[in-house]
Amino acid sequence: MRLLSAISFLLLFSAFAHGQCILTVRGTVNDADTRSALAGATVTLVELKKTILTDNDGKYALSGICPGDYTLRITHADCQTLDFHFHLKEDLDKIFQLSHAENLLKEVVVVGTATVRPEGMTGELKGKELAATRGLTLGESLQRITGVTVLQTGNNIYKPVIQGLHSSRVLILNNGIRQEGQQWGSEHAPEIDPYVANRLTVIKGAASVRYGGDAIGGVILVEPRLLQYKKEIQGEINLAAFSNNRQGVFSALLEGGFDEKQTTAWRIQGTVKRGGNAKTPDYWLKNSGVEEMNMSAAAGWRKNNKGVELFYSIFNTKIGIFSGSHIGNLTDLENVIRDQSPPSYIRDEGFSYVIDRPYQSVQHHLFKLKAFAEEFGKSRINLTFSSQLNIRKEFDITRTETELPQLQLNLQTHMADLVWEHFSGKKIKGSMGVNAMYQDNYINYRYFVPNYQSVDLGIWAAERYQHEKWQVELGMRFDNRNRFNIKDNDAQPFDLLIGNMLVPGDEYGKRNFSGLSGTGVVAYKFNEHLRTSFTASTAWRAPQVNELFSNGLHHGAARIERGDPTLNPEKAYSILGTVIFNNEKWEAEFGLYNKEIQDFIYLKPVYPALLTIRGAFPAFDYAQTNASLTGSDIRLAYRFTNHLQTHVKASVLRAYDKKVKTWLIQMPSERYEADLEYNFIDGKKLKQTSIRVGMQHVTKQIHVPPTGNIKVTDQGGITKMQSDYMQPPEAYTLFNLEATTGIELQKRRIDLVFGFNNLFDISYRDYMNAFRYFSLDRGRNISIKIKLPI
């Protein structure tokens, strides 16, 4: 009720605040390089759809505007589009520096002019939205984008799920480089510090021929801001604190140039994070702390039409695994499900920062060297080399004293990438390239996946044709993936036991896969308010080593997983349609998709459970089926007044197994989100103050196989055959509150974000959380985020 009265108060307040529409926005647009006036730049007040061109002196003026929040968009043929968000209370006079395209090489390269990427298929997090996610992991942050959910393992491991697909079906580009860790594991989170990015982009669907045809689910771009070639040193400090697990985060960035001529630039950045046990509404989660320490450094040199950039980053994390999830066998799992709560000796533990076994520690190095040369306004060549080293260690509870992990995986990846982009044509623009990747995986201690080496080669081209209201894009790619030297350190896979002797099984040998992928997009713009696009694409993904060769106990999941060396690549055929409408009041995005995936690789439960010395274990074999994923992502925004607006988001997905003729397991249920945002008029000290009340409703996943081979005895003693050890959790609704403001002190601005997640401390479990069997999800979490300029 208090919430409702707050909302009605805001509504009333906004009605009064609705002032007279007589204000003017004026100023000058300059070329950032030459500092001279830029004539013929388009200046648009996005919300009002008012557009004007700058005159010969680069001047613009828009008048008759109401007070409120606006976005001024400045575009020029040769320049990067600039968006300026501001709050209008009195006349504004503003000079803009527009960066010339030459300055934007990185931006253009990463986003890619020729990346087939129609609107509506992509989601972005930047500026204010990104600031509100500071201190969270990459996966958690991305959840703000419609159609993106997470596959969670406890409260520190979040994997992004795009339209129901995740892990090796989702490609993450960290600063333009394919992130290569052990991404196949459902409890292996992306090894990326989100503070490196100033924009996170999600491309939904298999539409990116540029980055590899295996991204059936989609692509996530983690993009740092451009290097600043100005001599002066600048930077920022970010602080974040969270109440739930008493987590603190400190991140700092410093950048500048070396010389007056603006030919060199550098940047260093680092993040430290520490959190303790998380708290559900009822109890603490023992051993669920997290530690993180990351660093990155970048340097750039450029002159006229060529340049070089270097980037290095190191990511270190230590993640505690909730004690209550470390179960011995099937009986232990059944006990914890029956009790609907962790055993008392675990739930009675209080708060602590100490991380004990079981835990995982991961280190990821990324080194990148990029060189480019450009024929101005015509074409550009980029050459990129990168090296990555990923060291993953998993520490279990042991009976014997040891400092060593029980499982260690070292993966090194080296890539070379050559891209030619041409953009001189009036109607046709595009890019093409070749890339090569070498990988070496080395395991130590317990076997789960084998050692292997691989060489992947790809060649691709993508071209765009634009004519009047039509835009057509076509992309093609050929990949060859070669895996060899596949072996265990001392044993062979699938060893046989004859009498009391272990007899080596067949060698893993070599695997070689080749295939084509392609994308076609047709987009049509009816008018300024209405646009539509249609995409059709094919993609294929070679089976990963875990799918082929894993054989052993997956500790995080307490189950035995067995690969199948005869698996074929999976092939996806997807179609996607989008309609985008916007006017002064409305903003609407409607997307509909269907993905038919042939030979979809999944974990198939095997019965009976496997008998071992530690009791029975659920066993899963990798198998293939034909899957059909159909869904819709919808986003609506309505502006009541210049101060008050609302956003509504919905994602719906149906995933069907066409061979078995039943639903696929482990797919996200429906998600609905709504919020109401009020923007205050700027005060003398406080700028861009806003308050947002949000609600999230997640339905119960009812689209699961109605029956299965798992025998489950419910509390009433009735035995049923189910597809899972526990029925999907009930629907839940969470509320959250977010307040943002900027304090202006001597020309500097300190930005503050206050957040209240799960405001009413509601107890819930989520179907996409692997720990739903063991504990409730996190309770209320109050946070504060501070950004200080240096």
Binding site: G328, L389, Q412, D440, Y445, D495, G499, G552, I613
Partner: protein, 183 residues
């Protein structure tokens, strides 16, 4: 500048290679963890006759099926002394894990239970704190013949072992259901 950058790159790449290629094969920390065999040694108190029953899975959890899984067969109305052994027979010579369990008795507990009242099990041996450990015990078989199962469970509960712990507490190192008959 460019040359400098190149050197920088080379140095970094080399470093990655060196780090990546360090294929150190040290002592396997999982060695002490593997239990392949449970031996139940039963000695009839009056005659002193001894019988040994075994569960053996040489490649541990997963992989091949257990190579030996005996049925425990005892005579009705008798008293037996039970001595348990946990071994790692995946290597030569085999590791006797029982010694470790004994040494770290305060962190371990063995539970034995017979179905269908086929035997009464008592006199569990104790750890240094006087809490039940159960490496040795006394079994009194039922007066009438019957068949069922006998479960041997070894729990690991570092730091949390207490009096009256239920079988659900801690991690399961061993849980084997032997077929059990009293004749």
């Amino acid at each position: 500048m460019r040359k400098k950058n190149l050197h920088f790159t080379l140095a970094f790449t080399m470093m990655l290679f060196v780090l990546g290629c360090k294929k150190d094969k040290v002592v396997d920390p999982n060695d002490g963890e593997l239990i392949t065999t449970v031996k139940v040694v039963l000695t009839e108190r009056v005659s002193g006759s001894q019988s040994i029953f075994e569960f053996k899975d040489l490649d541990g959890t997963g992989g091949a099926a257990p190579s030996k899984f005996d049925e425990i067969v005892l005579v009705k109305g008798k008293v037996y002394g039970c001595n348990l052994q946990f071994l790692n027979e995946s290597k030569m010579p085999a590791d006797d894990i029982t010694l470790e369990v004994f040494k770290e008795g305060m962190d371990h507990q063995i539970y034995l239970s017979a179905s269908d009242v086929l035997a009464v099990i008592s006199d569990y041996s104790l750890d240094t704190k006087g809490l039940p450990l159960g490496i040795t015990s006394t079994w009194t078989t039922a007066a009438t013949a019957g068949t069922g199962t006998l479960n041997v469970t070894l729990k690991h509960k570092p730091g949390v072992k207490a009096a009256g712990d239920p079988i659900t507490k801690g991690d399961t190192d061993v849980s084997v259901d032997f077929k059990f008959s009293v004749k």
